[in-house]
């Protein structure tokens, strides 16, 4: 896992947690499509959020999952959390 969370990472985890709907092309430009347009309801996002947390060893605030309605919003929320953790680690103890 690199330092930044990418759309490819998200796509892999969405597929693992919630599969893909018929007729939805996840290989297209999905960054600004709404999750519900992509066939993912709130539980699918929640489920994917848990996998992100487990894989990256982070804890996402509830709002990151309930208020991110597009892949871009969720990716930004994850990266914000990653860089904050990075900053905390870099800071002298």
């Amino acid at each position: 896992m690199t330092d930044t969370f990418t759309v490819a990472d998200l796509k892999r985890m969405l597929l693992a947690c919630a599969g893909a709907d018929e007729g939805v092309d996840l290989d297209g430009d999905i960054l600004d499509r709404r999750f519900d347009e992509l066939g993912y309801e709130s539980l699918a996002v929640l489920e994917t959020g848990r996998l992100i947390e487990r894989e990256l060893g982070i804890t996402l605030p509830d709002a990151a999952l309930t208020e991110s309605d597009t892949p871009r919003a969720l990716i930004d929320a994850v990266n914000a959390r990653l860089s904050r953790n990075g900053a905390e680690h870099a800071a002298p103890a």
Binding site: L15, C17, A18, G19, A20, D21, E22, G39, L43, A44, L46, E47, R50, E53, R54
Partner: protein, 408 residues
């Protein structure tokens, strides 16, 4: 009120054609459990559905959120719609509803999540556990997949619930819903589901598939459980005629009762359920050509059923069959599957057999032990649920002429 589509997932046949081919020929789907090792359990036989690959039939989107019973139900619903020649997107969403029955919910899914909870911790439990186990989930998933927003619900009454669901759908058609999907699929052949079933103390502990489930036999010793069921498409007769749909037959009458308190000395409710169903259909006992029995294979319960049938039809007064001897008892799936079998029997003019059973003479029942050709106009389907539920449904051959009274 007519059935225009049937979807079947049964241990002796996946799909209507395979199921009927096996059932009319007396081919059983009962065997030793293969999906987990049953060696340490007191009961080891079941009617398992073989060769069902969910991802051949369903989008990957549905797989992480569905128990096996829901996958089977979704596919059976797809098949029923295709059989009826109905594309849901062509009908208004609020004109289509779904009523299913459920007896146990999604045990296998739940077992997997419990395992994750204890082995890995709460962060690993699927968010889909919130509904995947739930009794109402088959109705919900079928309605979402097909855009069916009309009156929907779920009934829980063990075997009887399967008939109750179909007749609840009939009620919705009468109130004006254009089309209903109804029926039930149950499946809990996993260790957790198995111990739950064992707690009923009604499971046969025999290891011989030909001797394990013997309703109305002196060697009756409990039942073999199975998985599966059937989903039916229901329409008002005039609507089905209007689109030139093939009708399998009519749901003509329904009766449902609850048993009195044990040891009350009052008569069990099955007899009255039969009489209510005949009265609702407006048929006399001698107009019923075959009875599909509940067939508990517990001596006291067999005796109650034999007495109820005898009281209405007389000694050996009607052919009685239990094709569930080839599938095991499917809980809520059993009633809808028997309705399907009854309609297919009427269509072919052949009563499917009750396999392996040597009927005890004291029951005075005409048990159909080999496939029996017969001119069938009407059939009675019985189902009882653990705890006192009794339901009876009369199905009738399709009419060739429109009903002058206007049948809804």
């Amino acid at each position: 009120m007519v059935v225009t589509g049937i979807g079947v997932a049964a241990p002796n046949g996946l799909g209507v054609r395979e199921f009927w081919s096996a059932t009319r020929g007396g081919r059983s789907g009962i065997g030793r459990i293969t999906r987990f090792d049953p060696a340490r359990y007191p009961a080891r036989l079941a009617g398992e559905i073989r060769g069902f690959e969910a991802d051949d039939h369903l989008p990957s989107r549905l797989l992480p959120q569905t128990d096996r019973m829901t996958r089977l139900a979704l596919v059976a619903a797809d098949w029923a719609l295709a059989d009826a020649g109905i594309r849901p997107r062509d009908l208004p969403g609020f004109g289509m509803g779904v009523v299913t029955a459920s007896s146990s919910g999604g045990f296998e899914f739940g077992q997997g999540e419990l395992r994750k909870l204890w082995a890995l911790g709460p962060g690993h439990v699927s968010a889909y556990q919130s509904f995947a186990w739930f009794y109402a989930v088959n109705t919900g998933q079928i309605s979402i997949r097909n855009g069916m927003k009309g009156p929907s619900g779920v009934l829980v009454g063990d075997q009887a619930g399967g008939l109750d669901a179909v007749m609840q759908a009939r009620r919705q058609i009468r109130k004006g819903t254009r089309m209903m999907l109804c029926g039930a699929v149950d499946a809990s052949l996993c260790p957790w589901g198995w111990v739950a079933q064992l707690s009923s103390r009604r499971l046969s502990t025999s290891d011989d598939p030909t001797r394990a489930y013997l309703p109305f036999d002196r060697d009756a010793r409990g039942h073999v459980p199975g998985e599966g069921g059937a989903i039916l498409v229901l329409e008002a007769a005039e609507d089905a005629r209007g689109r030139c749909a093939r009708s399998y037959g009519e749901l003509a009458g329904y009766g449902s009762t609850f048993d009195p308190k044990p040891d009350s000395g009052r008569e069990p409710g099955l007899h009255r359920a039969i009489e209510l169903a005949l009265a609702d259909a407006g048929v006399r006992p001698d107009e019923i050509d075959v009875v599909f029995a509940d067939a508990a294979a517990i001596p006291e319960s067999d005796s109650v059923e034999a007495e109820a049938i005898g009281a209405v039809f007389g000694a050996r007064g009607v052919p009685v069959t239990a094709p569930k001897t080839m599938t095991g008892r499917l809980y809520s799936g059993a009633g809808p599957l028997d309705l399907a079998a009854a309609l297919l029997a009427i269509a072919e003019g052949l009563i499917p057999p009750t396999v392996h059973v040597a009927a005890a003479p004291e029951y005075e029942l005409d048990i159909v032990s080999a496939p029996r050709p017969a001119d069938l106009r009407a059939a009675l389907v019985l189902a009882r649920g653990h705890g006192g539920f009794n339901s009876a449904v009369v199905v009738r051959a399709p009419r060739s002429e429109p009903d002058p009274k206007g049948d809804r």
